[in-house]
Symmetry: D3
Subunit: 334 residues, 6 copies
């Protein structure tokens, strides 16, 4: 097995403690995150060999970001330094019917100003066997889109598996590029699709609903349109409120449709990065298990992420398999 | 629209973090609160023009209190300074079946020693169109009762709307005044009644139950007894335990009885000041909407308060209307 | 009533805040605990006269431990000082389906190196009327087992009540002693059995199930085997996940079988020490009430412990009786 | 040796971290203190047998105060409970040329409302051999003054040593009593005088300067006026600024005048309670050493207090004698 | 006296506690600052009527910034909201020979993107009698430079006093404007010059040294070149290391040269904003006192700022005059 | 240049904030350290390629330790996992004349139980060019001594430079080995001696004083006794008190004696690990500069360590050379 490669922005996340707002306390905490980085760190916590590629500021904030990534054993040797500042986001964590609130400061960040010349993809992918991308990166800037494209192109040339999580966030995409066209172009390099009805509708221009039959039909159409795509994985979230969700997952791999049981997350600690945890669980799982076991693994990993503060999933293979073995009561052995 | 006026004690609230007791940690946090101040700040957070009138200590604690109130944009220019200390309360936040515990240090505070001469009501109410009072103030001292009376009298002379939240807390009322007589006198100046069966029974000497029919009959009797009162609003709390409540509200405005849906608050952050949040929602809502929409607005505002730490409701009109629009799942948009 | 005596290790518990892992933050909090100490402090919080006997390090950590115990009014005059360090455990608190994780550093601690000569039992038990032991102490080392035996022997000679909580934790018991034999020997000195099916099966070599009939039959067999045992008390925990449990309790006192209602703990703050809280409730309750009332008291005390951070139950008689009186809604009076 | 008795108010001290002001952060820390309590705890930390007598609130704040005192091994069995709140003070710690700032909330506290009937002095002094008082207690209220007098009278009847630290703080003394008369009356019961030129001038109505000759002459006059006083001890502070002081001490015991070397405190952590640390050092020292050695011990104890946060001196006999042995370089041995 | 007007960027400052680096702890604190805002808040703390004009982000970070400014009583009604994020800076506080380190994220901030149309200067200066500017604002962007120019032009038309602190920071000025030309243009509107040899050399193109004679000659040349400038004030810092400085000040007002005594700051808490504290002291002082007294006031205010954490000077007139009265020993009165 | 290898215990350091004692607060912070690890991390912060070899616990504490080391870019691939717990030490930081206090819990730790079989030295030293050892490791246990010996033997066979810091701490060395003999044996493998008069006297059995002539003569004798040793480096600390030290350094390299200037550390943040910072500075410096420049570099690095909290020196080459260039005033450039 070669190295798993992720490429994307590293953001500093700054947040008051528990459910406070910034107006309530000047004591805050920071983590680092970013959708592709979250995937990378989660896989590293499963024991995988991962490299994250990015651009960070050439100062003590960028150094702190790199040291944070290195802490989890992720390879940081292809991260490039920039005169631009690191992107930041501020988060106020909601509760019950109060939604969380986010304020971004990323539009002129080190990563958003990246250009293809900043990354030597030949070196960066030297040991790579899998590359993962998301819909956030092409939304940030033309430079980010182009740099990602260059990487994916080489990845496909090298025969690497390419997983796509084409999350569509309309608030981004401000630099003039048409989102649909960009995502279609990038999906042309991809072999695994991680995403739901919304993303499929966005790229196909369809109008599927959320039922299982819709998912199945949508997946089939997607795989017809993008023949490189072999499998489609989807995660379904049911929200009682900000503090209480249920998670299940479903898949179509061209052969069988499967769906997992609901996992009931009665007391959410932090829901940021739970989608990334699902993707990481899949990427790890598909290299270890059959498709359905990987889906179950990803679904449980996603559920566990809700119990960890910060963007990244700190869970281990042991914790996930413990749940898959039926122990969801949180009983611990001394 | 003129200025909304509140008058009441400013208390410093000191509390250990999360659910700790004082015996567990010497690291604590403080906020400021007080039932009428909570109303004022909540209205300011809705965008209202509010002035809070009070007396605070002439030292760095009093200055910190004023700066706290000013932070939210509430007018503090009628707050008077005193040689007496600011009132303090200590709070240990309960959980599940453990009730919260409170220890007050307010009986000789700056506010409780107030006398009518301390407030120039003519100046203070200059731009006022609405005045709000609660049953806490007259319970504190004769001076506080008399000062409030002087203000209400002038408010009525000026034709201001007067809302009353005659919360009856038997642990106060130590200075010899009969609570019932005092509340009756003050209700004589009032046009909006915010309170439930307990308060009505207290002032009417009746024995109504909690059913809707009782509420309706009680409201009618109240409005007969106090002809200035035009509308009665009530909030009903169902408690599973300290951490899980449901909230709904009902009203009688002389024309129609209405009741809102239950809002399920599955993970309470802080229930202090939720009644004040309801009152603030009503005062703001009645100036923007019809009576039932105001009731719904107040009920949702009250529910949201349970998600904010501290005495005051930090919610915004946008957050409240988001819930009224049916989004109670806490989903946030990036 | 004489003094209640507990004997066991004092551990320093070190834990990140809320649900964090050590890898997430270098800011942590410590408490002291240990199963028998937890019982002692809980009884002291009920107003009981308790002495805890142990060995701690002769340095500022040992002094801090003693001062922590003294803070609650527990008699520390029979604690002996040692050149060995105090035992430590590290705790990561889980949530929902994530179990808590524990790392112990106790195998060469001050207490585990104790020998019978370190404790002058004649002096230590001078005012004692009740002694409580658990299955943790004999599991730690031969010295701890022998020292406990010496104490229990004298306690019985003096006619003291002896309660046993023979918790069987297989991860301990590393010094060569057969657990079953040790527990059987110690149960020979005991008059009250606090424990469930697992512990009975362990010492009887039986295979009873968890149903009430099994419990009744198991208790009868236990009392036949150990004729000094007069009463058996058991606590039953139903776990939805790490954050949501239900607790009920049952008993057989040779005359009647009784069972309490379920108490629903919807938002667990800390489950460590809840078994000790049950034992403490029983020991206190059996000296104040009849057996069933004691069982109810213990069950409610156990439930309340889930709302307090740290190993020890900070609840009071007033809080417990408040619940027994039917108020489980956490309503507080101001 | 019998028990050392102190009598005085227990205050909760609330302070922002490091040099912050309350306006800067809502995260604060609390300790307990009070001039006589500080003396008691410091002596307990030296290993002395001490009882502190006071009145605290009958709630969780009073309980926390008692537990704090008990933590240090001070006997709390003569502390009485009151319906009045515990006194509080707020502290902003200065730095360099910025003075610290204090705000008191104590004028109607549990202790200030004490009356002689609240204390059973016969029981309280049962094992007493030494009683210590300060000029703060008689300044608070007539009740406090009378209660102290009753205690001192009995202490003298029992032949106990009585040490007086008649600190004169003009901001107190609001209840009508003439300070000079009160202090004179109380000094009539005293055998050890701990105080400087200011206090002597206050009670004698003299105008001595600060030079050694003045101190000697003033002490002689004091001992002529109050024939029970056998020894006079004085501490001299030289302040460069809020963060850098020097301390030395001098004495007249009727036989010899002695003066210690300056101790240079280059980085003050907390100067509150340093005078109490001096008194505690003397009370402990005079029972262990000759007068001059006691003076040196007290002076070093006072200097060390400047390195401990909070009101109370946490230093040990070992630390103090280490300095007296000439090691003031803070070198530690591993 | 009219309102004092400041115009400049509001920055969020994020910093680890005490002397930690970001790599050491994820727990940090934030304040708001910015050189002109620091001046505004300091003057408000002296009791002055001040308005700060700026642009902040239209989200919860911008709201928190406004509430922070409002807390101190500064008029925020001319602050404009922007879609761009608020500027941020990260600070690691040095000690002894370790310098502090700063990382800015401000180049595309709400304020740096300001254009003259964003501010209605007629309204903004309606009550203004004094306007203060610094060399930071024109360095940020052409828009900021132009907007400032528009304001200063109107201020002069209205006959307002204009104070200039043309701090020259070469790391800024990236948008193409020649710094010297910009400062010369802005000085043409100014009547008070607050700055030292470096700034004079920058704008005159001279090469003066730091001696008093140089300062005198430089000031005279400056006033010849800029005939509107009536007075020149300079602050001189002598640094032993990051933790220990001395401050004195000097002036030339066209009539007399004066110099203050050194103030010895032996334990620096925070040196950020000390120059702004000097400017604020001058602006306030020149409206209350003669020039030399104002210089002394400003110098003492500057020294006191070193004892407050954060960008802004929290000192009061009372604290400053206490020092001017000769009390630099930090003694406090209770 | 090859890899620099360090071998030694990783300790978890737990300490209250600022100058607090454990009895004062249950909120503490942890770092990781250990004399050889401190050297490794400091060199990594200078940009060196370093591997640290050790044994840590196989649990979340050991994982956190490894992640801490990895964070700084130190190679952790030769760290072995153990069933034994990680060593811990508790630290109370002193101030002024109060010494710091330390409590160790390391005698049965993962590292102290190491045996030569646990480390594959061939693999571990594969890329090594320099190995560093200290007198702590052989003092811990026979296994640690033997494992170190095996490593040093191979290092010499491979022609690696071996630096020795034979710190003699008498409180360790409890397992029966004669310290002098052990150090002599290990010095036989060493080429660089980092240590002072005390260490030389210990191994030579001499009685040299601290003057420069003594140092020179002692160094010469040392190099005669141990012919592999080519250079001797010594650091001299002058302590005013716990908070204020001076540092200078001297050397004899067989050719010339040199001594650096005193560096005045007026406000110490943390003095733990300052000797290790000196060793790291030398090891890095000797590979970059001539001997005297390396000595100066090491001395400045040591001084800078006093400004960083925790065991490890976070300083960079840039910071050190800034001081060597004469800038000791802590001025920072924006």
């Amino acid at each position: 097995m070669g190295q798993i490669i992720t490429f994307g922005e590293v953001l500093m996340r700054i947040s008051p403690k528990s459910n406070k707002k910034f107006i309530q306390s000047n004591s805050v905490e920071f983590y680092f995150g970013g959708t592709e980085l979250n995937v990378a760190i989660s896989i590293a916590n499963f024991g995988g060999d991962v490299k994250h590629i990015s651009a960070v500021s050439e100062d003590f904030i960028g150094e702190t970001a790199i040291s944070y990534i290195r802490k989890f054993g992720v390879d940081t040797t292809s991260i490039t330094l920039s005169e631009r500042p690191l992107g930041v986001y501020f988060l106020e964590v909601g509760a019950v019917m109060r939604p969380s609130a986010i304020s971004y400061n990323r539009s002129h960040s080190a990563f958003s100003q990246i250009v293809p010349e900043n990354i030597n993809w030949e070196n960066a992918l030297e040991n790579g066997s899998w590359m993962h991308w998301t819909g956030i990166t092409p939304a940030l800037s033309k430079g980010a889109f182009d740099t990602l494209k260059a990487g994916l192109k080489l990845a496909r040339q090298k025969g690497m598996t390419v997983s796509a999580d084409p999350t569509y966030r309309s608030g981004l995409w401000k630099y003039g590029q048409d989102p649909k066209e960009a995502l279609i172009e990038l999906l042309g390099y991809s072999t695994i699709f991680i995403g739901g009805i919304n993303e499929i509708n966005e790229v196909l221009g369809t109008d599927f609903g959320y039922a299982n039959e819709d998912f199945l039909e949508a997946s089939k159409q997607l795989m017809q349109t993008f023949p490189t795509i072999e499998k489609v994985f989807d995660k379904i979230r049911t929200s009682l409120n900000s503090s209480w969700h249920k998670i299940r997952a479903r898949m179509w791999n061209g052969i069988e449709f499967r769906e997992t049981q609901d996992l009931d997350i009665t007391h959410i600690v932090d829901r940021i990065g739970t989608g990334d945890a699902f993707a990481a669980g899949l990427i790890y799982g598909l290299q270890q298990f059959d498709d359905y076991k990987a889906l179950e693994f990803a679904s449980a990993a996603c559920a566990l992420k809700h119990t960890y503060e910060g963007d990244v999933n700190l869970t281990t293979v042991k914790e996930v398999t413990n749940i898959l073995g039926g122990n969801t009561t949180g009983r611990f052995v001394r």
